[in-house]
Symmetry: C2
Subunit: 277 residues, 2 copies
């Protein structure tokens, strides 16, 4: 069956490397028969800030406004603002979401954080019961595709910026996996602005090659919700025990005070914890 792809794209300029990466994705995926939709956040003038204006009509508690609660209620009652509802409907349609952006300050640019804060509404994207491996979007895939200013070596366990796997954890676990998405390995374009034209071209070429079979890729490994008790959300003793003799922790965050599993946020098929998944 033909797949639907949503690209959430956050760059100001159509002449940028990020634009070229986005265009390559549109082209290659469309040629495969996918339907590709693009949310071009800067071009849309997308509102980044989570405010009471995101809710049509009166809010429940104006005195002590809580965005998490008010937006949940508004979603239930169909009272979210039109721009949020439009993005939610695009997301609902999609089988795969690609976030394309330049890394700003070890994270996503504010306009993309605004999309995350406003579109992934409590109730629509997650609930207390439906998150992580039981998450609402567990039948969808998602991935980060981004450019860095720094070279790859600087983002290593001995490099000045530290291990990129650590930097990716809050984004890939705390946002994508939290909502249930199967997270595909990130596409990282290392410092294209410092590269010569030929190297930039070859970065795009390998992205095009990857895109050919992107939808068949195995996702990154995370820990199943079953491995945690359902009161305190702590790893069950039997899981902990089973892993006691292992060299590495389970994931970057759930590291059990062991060394981090190598490349677990960068490469799929990390075998170290697959038996638990």
């Amino acid at each position: 069956m033909a797949k639907k792809v949503l690209i959430v794209y956050a760059h100001q300029s159509s002449g940028s490397f990020n634009a070229a990466a986005k265009n390559a994705a549109v082209e290659v995926l469309t040629a495969q028969g996918c339907t590709v939709d693009v949310s071009d956040l800067y071009a849309m003038g997308f509102k980044a800030t989570a405010t009471a204006e995101d809710i049509k009509g009166e809010v429940k508690n104006a005195e002590n406004f809580c965005y998490l609660e008010e937006s949940k209620l508004a979603w239930e009652q169909g009272k979210l603002s039109a721009d949020i509802m439009e993005e939610q409907s695009r997301l609902t349609e999609a089988d795969l979401i690609i976030f394309q952006f330049p890394m700003y300050w070890f994270s996503v640019p504010a306009i993309l954080k605004g999309w995350i804060d406003r579109v992934l509404t409590n109730g629509f994207a997650f609930s207390q019961e439906k998150r992580y491996s039981q998450g609402i979007f567990k039948d969808k895939k998602a991935m980060l595709s981004f450019t860095t200013g720094s070279l790859e070596s600087m983002f290593s366990p001995t490099g000045i910026n530290g291990d990129m796997n650590v930097t990716l954890w809050p984004l890939q676990n705390g946002i994508l996996h939290y909502c249930g998405f199967q997270v595909l390995a990130p596409q990282i374009f290392w410092a294209p602005s410092s590269a010569v034209a030929e190297d930039r071209k070859s970065m795009l070429e390998s992205w095009r090659t990857r895109l050919q079979s992107l939808l068949e890729e195995k996702p990154l490994s995370f820990i199943s919700l079953d491995c945690f008790d359902d009161k305190a959300f702590q790893l069950k003793p039997e899981v902990h025990e089973k892993h006691a003799s292992k060299e590495f922790g389970l994931t970057v965050g759930i590291h059990l005070n062991k060394p981090l599993p190598p490349h677990s946020q960068m490469k799929n098929g990390c075998g170290c914890c697959s038996e638990l998944l």
Copy 2:
């Protein structure tokens, strides 16, 4: 000498726990003789998105607009928009910056990410030579003060959200320490919205107590820029060697494939790497 404090505050409601935490800081620090300034981002309608409108007059390369380069040039030429220049002047005045916010999606809310993306301009806040321990703001202190939705146990190395030290690394290392700030231990208010009134009150009381001597606290430990070679920005072999027999990595990110140093992003005076600093 009386100190100047800037609180960058990101909550929509004056009735919130975050507002109470901000007010407590204003009160206690003012009573100590500090001058306290507050940037109330939602009340100011602070623009979160990094766009060409941040630059007065014509940009250098409209075809291939690069925010990092254009904003650097605009800062050099005094052409940044008034709202950015105003925040930069507040930051320049301050000895201590407190970021007060509710954690959204394992990070800061988009409006605060916008302050970071737009105010910490290339040239003003960092340069290729002036960053990390040689950073421009190395005589200033900064800290995160935030509320979570989750309980503390959930943000542990065996908890469902993973170790909070990992989640804090990109923020505290990649933004605050990157600009040179001495990073004070974060003030984390664990799930105040799930707490009873008495517990919320006691959270605020311990914050007030901490504020009494906040300015005398030792900052968190990071690795000095001298420990890296100045071409590839890799840890120097002699530093690596000196640390070879140690149980823990140096920091969360620069972990040398060893277990992470416990609490290193949460508590000051982590001793494990102090000899290198």
